[in-house]
Amino acid sequence: QFIPPYTEDCRTDTYPPNGPTFRGAVGWYTVDLDSPPSKRWDAVITEKKTHLVNMIQAIRDLANAFVPSGKLIELVDVTLPIMADTLPSPFSEEIKGIAAVSGIPLGEVVLFNIFYEVFTV
């Protein structure tokens, strides 16, 4: 069907994943719950840092498209670090650990982690 919603006949034989709808497999990482919360994500974030920075930058670009003055990003960077301290443990410490390893401002990592609630806005 070439008009929206582009419904097609039920697919068959797509597994094991292959062809144009399969972009790639997903890597495995271990998160050690016995390690301090602020250190648990170091290995994952160290390896994915570039992609995380790119994704946060894309959200920044989007925010600046709405508020060119940059005030929205400023608001995020000023207020959400304060919210980080109100988040329950171990999430607060884990988020701060991710900000430290990635170098991304804490407010923006908090925004990424509460995005589900924010998105409803």
């Binding site: 972009r23 997903v26 990482y29 719950l33 989007l62 109100t86 990635s102």
Partner: protein
């Protein structure tokens, strides 16, 4: 998002999901794709959460996101979460939180806590149904016994509905996109009907990881927002996930 829990004719439970995200967050005209969805794909990771060198639970996640949207507690239960739209939404929860009213839980922190601490399908179901939230949500939960598969429809404060597998009634699967199952989905975004058509066409006797992936690969269940597909088999404690693309023509959502 689309989440499905199905019981095969031997009583095995299979849980599959498409994670769709990034709607209206910047459209890349040249590549005909959503900008944020494309930026999220390289961040998809499978995580093995361990304590005392033992797996506690496994999850498919976006690196940098500490909450859980997709996970399995091996041999115990599987859990996914889909977004639920409501005027009484997350922004109200955030305002209450900022004003100091903090007795609700952030959605993905609840799912993470359930995966980490709950020890049975029933315990997980009770916690997901009864814990106050900052935002409404659908929780799709699978267990390790026949009949253990349900959709929990949550408002911020209440458990609105619980739809469970009932093979005797012919309900051998439960399937959730982003609309209350007792209402028609938005006509502009009906992924439920094509998904159910394919599930019914597959039939219980043929449902497996393979055919569940087929259903989740059929447009518009697969769409431009789909970042990854995860398949989970609770009895084997197995989670596998794949990053997706939707070649044109393809629905933007």
């Amino acid at each position: 998002c689309t989440s499905i829990v199905a019981e095969d004719h031997k009583g095995n439970l299979i849980h599959g999901r498409n994670l769709d995200f990034g709607l209206f967050m910047g459209w890349d005209v040249k590549n005909k794709s959503w900008i944020i969805s494309e930026k999220l794909k390289p961040l998809v990771v499978n995580l093995d959460f361990r304590r005392n060198n033992q797996t506690v639970f496994k999850s498919t996640n976006f690196a940098g996101y500490v909450g859980m949207l997709t996970g399995i507690k091996p041999h115990t239960f599987t859990l996914t979460m889909n977004e639920r739209f409501s005027l009484d939404g997350g922004y109200i929860g955030i305002m209450e939180w900022v004003l100091g009213k903090r007795d609700g839980m952030w959605m993905s922190f609840l799912t993470r806590s359930v995966l980490e601490d709950a020890n049975s399908y029933e315990e997980a179901k009770t916690r997901l149904a009864q814990t106050k939230l900052l935002a409404p949500a659908y929780f799709i939960l699978g267990g390790n016994q026949t009949g253990q598969g349900c959709i929990i429809t949550r408002s911020r404060l209440l458990n609105i509905d619980l739809l469970e597998i009932d093979v005797k009634l012919g309900r051998w699967y439960v399937l959730e996109t982003n609309y209350d199952h007792w209402e028609e989905p938005l006509f502009l975004d009906d992924r439920r009907t094509p998904a159910m058509k394919c599930m019914n066409q597959t039939a219980q006797k043929n449902i497996s990881v393979n055919t569940m992936y087929d259903v989740l690969s059929t447009k518009p269940v697969l769409n431009k927002l789909t970042t990854y597909t995860t398949l989970m088999q609770v009895s084997e404690g197995k989670l596998e996930s794949y990053i997706r693309d939707c070649p044109n023509p393809c629905m933007p959502w």
